[in-house]
């Protein structure tokens, strides 16, 4: 499934929106303006954009600690995301979640999960729901290479395998869990061998090429919708920032690796293609960027001008009524 020009522009716009949103967070975190842990998605934008472009509103996704990109790509509102990251009352979770726990159930985003690997069994539940409803909806779950060493990962693969769940596994293999290399932590060597052992078809793709992600996810999603059962995409990528944004945290990844991967920037690569193929003129590209910058600024203004929750709001929402 080759993306046409309209889709290419959308993919690019989604990636650039994530990039600009995340760049703003890098600035604000280093200025000390944001409390808590913020895990930057910069470098991995093509995966969220390429996968979610195939999902409908009714399809459900489950995300992880590095989840802003998935929210944006699934159609969440930048203003309410930013407000949540600032702990404001107008945020998606009324300030009770923060960067690591943004959810928007209205667009099928069942939340970012801060426990490594734990979103996987929740996604098997979302996929099971879609199977029971029988309307051709699917679920997708995003997780890192580190999550693949958790028991919940293996259990979820098995469950999806035996029940033929309509579930797309999207492994964002950025090659490290904090500073621990996947190559060290995983006896299987290749992640994609593990789903195959559970009779789940798997493909390894270059996760920084949004066209490749789009094509692979398109084929996978089409098969899943037809009832062929789960599919596993391992997307090779790299995170540009430290594990989370922090002055104290050490980055022990080998020198030079980051520079090499920056040359494979998913956003710059797409921009170049759009320009070279004549899909977008430099002026058009600039206009897209400016529009996104205005949206990010507006989201930031919204967050700053929004009130904090009342302290006693801490006592609400423990239970649903």
């Amino acid at each position: 499934m080759q993306p046409d020009d309209k889709v290419l522009i959308e993919l690019y716009t989604t990636m650039l929106t994530i990039r600009r949103f995340e760049e703003r967070l890098v600035r604000e975190v280093s200025a000390g303006n944001i409390p808590g842990f913020v895990h930057s998605y910069i470098g991995q934008e093509a995966i969220a954009a390429g996968v979610c472009r195939h999902l409908r509103r009714r399809d459900r996704i489950v995300s992880h600690h590095r989840g802003h990109g998935h929210c944006i790509a699934k159609g969440a509102d930048l203003k309410r995301m930013m407000a949540e990251i600032y702990g404001k009352k107008t945020g998606y979770c009324k300030g009770k979640g923060g960067s690591m726990h943004i959810a928007d159930f209205s667009v099928g985003m069942l939340g970012a999960d801060g426990i490594v690997g734990a979103g996987l069994p929740i996604s098997t539940g979302a996929a099971f729901a879609a199977q029971l409803e029988g309307k051709g909806d699917i679920a997708a779950v995003f997780f890192g290479d580190g999550a693949c060493n958790e028991g919940e990962f293996h259990e979820a693969l098995n469950l999806a395998g035996i029940w033929k769940l309509p579930l797309l596994f999207v492994c964002e293999n950025n090659q490290y869990g904090v500073n621990t290399p996947a190559a060290y932590a995983m006896a299987a060597g290749e992640i994609s061998r593990i789903p195959k052992a559970h009779n789940i078809p798997a493909r390894v793709i270059f996760g920084n090429d949004v066209e490749e992600v789009y094509r692979a996810a398109g084929a996978a999603v089409a098969g899943i919708r037809k009832g062929e059962g789960p599919f596993f995409l391992e997307c090779r990528t790299y995170r540009w920032h430290k594990h989370f944004l922090s002055q104290q945290l050490e980055d022990l990844r080998p020198a030079g690796e980051l520079e090499e991967w920056k040359r494979k920037c998913p956003v710059a690569a797409m921009e170049k293609k759009l320009r070279n193929r004549g899909v977008l003129s430099p002026a058009k590209l600039r206009a897209i960027d400016e529009k996104i910058m205005r949206q990010v600024d507006a989201a930031h203004d919204f967050a700053l001008s929004s009130p904090y929750p009342q302290p006693q709001d801490a006592l609400h929402d423990v239970y649903s009524s």
Binding site: V62, K96, A103, P121, I122, T124, Y319
Partner: protein, 320 residues
């Protein structure tokens, strides 16, 4: 009135609600034969033995508009699913600012006294009481288990039902007509004026026997909270203010137990404290894993004699 067993009553609650609500799904590692026969294998799924992931699956179903019932069998197996219960079921509604309704009913048996050994015997409800976001049931009769599970099956929250293993085959009166029991409403199993005994789980029955044994000498009020979250604090305080004496009986280990919480409740309430005539007492399991050999197991668990002794002791103590 007809008599049925505790397990039959629990099953009836599930059957009735599954008939009414086609979006109810059942997950367990064992075939639930009656349920499967009536509702089919789509909605009544046998799972692999992978507790954490099928509890997570239940949460994902619930977050996607379904209602899930999970039977974990024993609470010790439930420990395997603690990540999903503690970090997810309990917290997601709150963490997501109330966006997510999570109607998940998690059932597991508790208790000791059947030579199950340490890995098949435990009563861990107080650990779960310490994690806000869960509702916690501890039904002790067929009538209660049916009525409380019926309510759990229309509640929009995660509910854990701790069901004493040894009560599964016990019989009791259960009406044919439909009924629901509210959470947070204790049952007074026996009225009395000298001492309040709050007894949990299977000990509600044993404490009642002890109270009957003392009849004529000591007038004992026996209260069964029936649900631990919410806890019927008022019923407990009202009774203790009246009797001035409190004994809490639970087969769970004593340290940081529900019994500790109930003693703290009574002794930190000013009015109640002022009326106490003796220091509150706990009759609990001893702080050891449950041993296998019958004389060892008997030694570490509360029984009728130990409860009688504790009631006598709080009666002997001089007035405060």
């Amino acid at each position: 009135m007809r008599k049925i067993t505790y397990d039959q009553a629990a099953n009836e609650a599930i059957q009735e609600e599954f008939r009414k609500n086609p979006r109810c799904v059942h997950l367990s590692t064992d075939l639930a034969a009656d349920l499967t026969e009536e509702f089919g294998t789509e909605r009544v799924r046998v799972t692999p033995i992978a507790e954490n992931s099928f509890v997570g699956t239940a949460i994902g179903l619930a977050g996607s508009g379904f209602r899930a019932v999970v039977n974990l069998r024993m609470a010790t197996f439930g420990f395997v699913a603690l990540d999903q219960i503690m970090n997810h079921a309990a917290k997601l509604t709150y963490m997501f600012g109330g966006q997510a309704k999570l109607p998940v009913l998690i059932r597991m048996t508790v208790g000791a006294g059947f030579s199950g050994g340490a890995q098949h015997s435990i009563s861990p409800y107080s650990m779960f009481m310490n994690v806000p976001g869960l509702k916690i049931l501890l039904p002790t009769t067929p009538y209660d288990v049916k009525g409380l599970l019926k309510t759990a099956l229309v509640d929009p929250n995660p509910v854990i039902s701790f069901e004493p293993f040894l009560l599964g085959r016990s019989e009791g009166e259960v009406p044919e007509e439909e009924y629901f029991l509210p959470f947070g409403k204790a049952a007074v199993r026996k009225r009395g004026s000298d001492v309040t005994v709050v007894a949990l789980g299977r000990m509600a029955h044993v404490a009642l026997e002890a109270a009957v044994e003392l009849e004529g000498k000591i007038s004992t009020e026996v209260i069964d909270p029936r649900t631990l979250v919410p806890l019927d604090r008022q019923a407990i305080l009202r009774s203790v203010r009246k009797t001035g004496r409190l004994v809490v009986v639970d087969e769970a280990c004593r340290t940081c137990s529900a019994a500790s919480e109930i003693v703290a409740l009574a002794s930190s309430d000013r009015t109640t404290f002022a009326r106490l005539k003796a220091a509150p007492a706990r009759v609990c399991g001893l702080d050891v894993p449950i041993p296998f050999s019958p004389p060892l197991e008997k030694y570490v668990l509360p029984d009728r004699a130990k409860i009688v002794k504790a009631i006598r002791a709080v009666m002997r103590r001089p007035s405060a």
